[in-house]
Symmetry: D3
Subunit: 249 residues, 6 copies
Amino acid sequence: MKIDFMKKSEPRISVIIPNTSKDFLAHHRKELSGEFPDVEVTCLDKGPDSVESFIDEVDAGLQLAKLVKDAEKKGFDAVVVSCFTNPALNALREIVSIPVIGAGEAALYVAASLGDRIGILSVLKETNPVVRHMVRGLGLEGRVITIRDVGIPVLGLSHGERVEEQIFEACLKAINEDGAEVLVLGCTGMVGLSDRLQEKLKAKGYEVPVVDPIRSAIYWAKMLVRLGLRQSRISYPHPLAKKRRLDSE
Amino acid sequence: MKIDFMKKSEPRISVIIPNTSKDFLAHHRKELSGEFPDVEVTCLDKGPDSVESFIDEVDAGLQLAKLVKDAEKKGFDAVVVSCFTNPALNALREIVSIPVIGAGEAALYVAASLGDRIGILSVLKETNPVVRHMVRGLGLEGRVITIRDVGIPVLGLSHGERVEEQIFEACLKAINEDGAEVLVLGCTGMVGLSDRLQEKLKAKGYEVPVVDPIRSAIYWAKMLVRLGLRQSRISYPHPLAKKRRLDSE
Amino acid sequence: MKIDFMKKSEPRISVIIPNTSKDFLAHHRKELSGEFPDVEVTCLDKGPDSVESFIDEVDAGLQLAKLVKDAEKKGFDAVVVSCFTNPALNALREIVSIPVIGAGEAALYVAASLGDRIGILSVLKETNPVVRHMVRGLGLEGRVITIRDVGIPVLGLSHGERVEEQIFEACLKAINEDGAEVLVLGCTGMVGLSDRLQEKLKAKGYEVPVVDPIRSAIYWAKMLVRLGLRQSRISYPHPLAKKRRLDSE
Amino acid sequence: MKIDFMKKSEPRISVIIPNTSKDFLAHHRKELSGEFPDVEVTCLDKGPDSVESFIDEVDAGLQLAKLVKDAEKKGFDAVVVSCFTNPALNALREIVSIPVIGAGEAALYVAASLGDRIGILSVLKETNPVVRHMVRGLGLEGRVITIRDVGIPVLGLSHGERVEEQIFEACLKAINEDGAEVLVLGCTGMVGLSDRLQEKLKAKGYEVPVVDPIRSAIYWAKMLVRLGLRQSRISYPHPLAKKRRLDSE
Amino acid sequence: MKIDFMKKSEPRISVIIPNTSKDFLAHHRKELSGEFPDVEVTCLDKGPDSVESFIDEVDAGLQLAKLVKDAEKKGFDAVVVSCFTNPALNALREIVSIPVIGAGEAALYVAASLGDRIGILSVLKETNPVVRHMVRGLGLEGRVITIRDVGIPVLGLSHGERVEEQIFEACLKAINEDGAEVLVLGCTGMVGLSDRLQEKLKAKGYEVPVVDPIRSAIYWAKMLVRLGLRQSRISYPHPLAKKRRLDSE
Amino acid sequence: MKIDFMKKSEPRISVIIPNTSKDFLAHHRKELSGEFPDVEVTCLDKGPDSVESFIDEVDAGLQLAKLVKDAEKKGFDAVVVSCFTNPALNALREIVSIPVIGAGEAALYVAASLGDRIGILSVLKETNPVVRHMVRGLGLEGRVITIRDVGIPVLGLSHGERVEEQIFEACLKAINEDGAEVLVLGCTGMVGLSDRLQEKLKAKGYEVPVVDPIRSAIYWAKMLVRLGLRQSRISYPHPLAKKRRLDSE
């Protein structure tokens, strides 16, 4: 399949959520449709309700790989995995020729261009080891000063005002107690909150950017397509031919 | 389920190979049965022929998780994953209460206690990014001076004398060109070669240890059981209850 | 001055070249006008012919600061400094409220999302310490595997086919001798070459992305504006009121 | 002298305590004899009462070297230095052909295989610089999150219940205030406490492994012998022939 | 111009303050004249009142470069830039053949030879990013445990006893709350205070060295001259001939 | 004993060589007496002929400690240990109240102020692990790009012109093959060669400083005395009272 990486029309982006929650999907579509009317958002049929642990990443991996291959076949220009911890990201880059972007990775680099010491607002303390492992994998440990959980599970993020308050309180602590200078929302389920959090922080005297991971990743995907870039085949070689379970997924 | 971690009898270890190759399994059993007559060695029904890429790790993950849970149910004291790149290791530690050991991790720590700068002999150049990612995840980048591939796929390792020669040549280059001071075989399929490689190196004037990953990991597993230790629940919390594909695996 | 960060129209980007070369300016305008018809490109009146050393960065700093302040006054939504070594970047972020993006920084993060080990093609060996200092300042030393100069001064980059050949040869060496997996052009004067270099590499069997820094930075600037983000005031506080030379620049 | 590294009988391990305290020796023998009836435990005639500082390490070095050489002559298969800070460890590896294991090194690697962020419980705050220097020498700074002293000198560790309480309180602080996820007892004089500390932590809701350094090191030594491995002669070359004080020790 | 680097007479050192404050200059001269009667101290005509931000460094750069070139022409043996954040230091080393020493750099290395974990007492919290950037540029992030501001602007440092008290309180916090083991005054405007601070700390039971940056740098400059050493032309190559603003400064 | 740290007279420095070679001592005295007529140079009675390995450091430690204590009793203002690998340095700082300086440490910091990437010329390849361990202990791994041995044992350094040639050839390789930008002589036995090596390099077009470790350390010691500084008692606490072999040395 030939991809025209330099085409001038709007790049076609497929956003894949690596969980099976219909609520999460609906919330994502509602929050993203205004800014990105042309982006397709889908989720898994088989896999975990939400991704909050290493085993959830394993649980999502197989079907996530299948959906990424399908997206390439359908002619999308790039895929965004809508999960902060970048599940299976390296594997996904091996199996297709279109760029694959992880929400956490994009958000961290965007944050790094806005301030020196990055604070991540994760969902639960149980999720922090997964986030830390991702940060270390990117070689960004020297820039991430804190991973602070807000105490809300992924599927609880779309309900009620208390969510915003709890995240806001964690933002203040990340700044005042941990020394964060730029903040990153550590779950794509927090979509829609970054602007208000930023305003509330400003009202308290903190002009600190709050980076939304899924929106960052969609712009990142478009940027890569317009730049005519995709993943390196030295870092992510096409897998050798062999019998795999994925082929019958 | 209650595990007696301090029992004095020989610990019961389950070695799980995260691929579906019957040849690989037979070779493993043959090489390990003399030294470890009491160790059970199994492999996957569903998954990749061999693990040589990130996607192979994803492909193996689901059933590997199931087999690890089964091993715990059967009363094993610890599980060893027989693959150098430690596929799904963090996830496996979350889902059981017995220790889970990765061959690559055990081998690298053993090597670190024998010399300063570690050289890894990987299978193929396409596999090197997976190995490097694992090393970075362990925080051992400062100790690993080279990852040098021997140019033989996993399933080619059990055939013929040329294999040993090619690995030996790579060992010499790792020492002379890259500065390695202690060597680690970068695939558990290389089992059975470390002693002869060590002798050949000595004959050339290099008294350099060559660490076998699967044997290291089995001793490591026994050590942990005898010490009454298992993984931290802060680093690897039990997963929250939720719908997962794994439950119907 | 109030900036509407969420506006839906195309963001207005000012590209400022921190040198005084009219040739460089013309070349930039020619190469960028097709892809970015709405972007304004300007350069310095006072300062160095080209930026190739630490003293050149100092030489450019004062007027660069003035032009960035002017760009904000004129209502631009973001400023891109068209120089790989990000001269005075931290200072520029202090003095305005619109985002300021450095070409080198944007290119490195883009590259980091495409491959693991980054190779930078710098202009001259005399420039390498400046590039290395920039990489260290970003905390990316663990990801940049080589800084390899192509042996052409900044103002020589826009002339003749030999330029492309020399850069191509350096690309091959960065991959084969240094282990680079993704390449970054280390001078914005190399604009217009990345696509052809990428194709030539592919023809030789290397599917390795070649990142253009100025184009990356322009897309980055647009991304930040659309995301409603600007630099952290904790990392880059507004300067305290005091007598400065800049005010009479 | 020829060592049969592959022998099937139980490896003969010599544990050498680098201090002159008879109380410490008696306590060690009492605690270790049940689990390791075949292990010989000795201590110095000349040297410090206990090792709590850099000068104590120097003070112990000469006779420690002599005892390690003697152990090799007596036919032991490996030597364990029973001190957390690994005094003279690199030197000892140079002078014999059997493996020499430091208690601190073994414990840290064991801990690293059980959790991500390691907390060390040291004896006195005056000892912390020695511990930190050892950790840095191993290249493990990225994994050790805290070195927290319990406020008890080495020779006070074998007396009374308050000891266990004080260490337990330090364990809780290491977890709650410092973020430790796996704990390491930072003195071999703490032998015999790890299991109870682990249980008490579990009773408080913390399933966190507590690693005993001397027991870890003895198993480590046996593992190396069974694996047929000893230190690299590139990292630890046999010393050149010259006049040394050690020869008349 | 020929410099006799091995001359036996007292080296001639030019201290250049990169700000325009006459008060700061007078205070410097007063504090330094007793210990260094032969050292010339000058400051800028054009530039910032004080250096407390990245833009102040840019603002000072051009004339600082001119003064350094003048110092070389006048026959000085070395130049010391009296500012903790080492403004334009790399650039200054490019343009002259005599050694150029930054106060912050000298102080940090002196401190590193006196204790393990360094605490820096900076002027204002707004200045901390500049200090941190300098520390990272030197590769000393692993040794600097804290950058703690005393809450006094540069030009407020020469007035009244409250200054000494505030710095002393910050010293105590750096030791007790942050774990600093050796302290560095983070502004050359703090000259004259280190001895008294050291005594006061000792009176409280802390035998912790307090390093004065400008005095350290002057001795450093003399040391380099006596050693016959100057900056490497590979790290700091002479700038290529080109049109620069500096030439008409 | 009271030390007047601020005295204006020339500081009294004791240089202690941690070996027993009378030739080495004579060579040292000859080379240093012109530049430092007031400095006392002594060596060990008991210990190794030369320090080239970890065991040599242990062998020298006890009497070195005694001599350092004696130097303090005799009223010296500071002690310099004339050995590049800083044997027992941390211990020596614990036992006296006057500053103790290691030649390697001083040389590396001096070099770090002259160029970015440091190359060390060590004596033998067998010594490289000791040097590397020292560099890691200082936290300078990010700045030292190569440790290259010249192939001459310590006691061979004072004989004949071939020595200078061999070191010079290693210097060229360190620059051209390893990327060194500033060089450090890695043994104090190389005293007297740095100036000529620097000139020869310049004649070949390399303006690269060559740092002499013992001369650097003597100036460093004087600098510390004049600055009124000595080691931190938090990093190097006075040892607790206990029975030690050192007391009967």
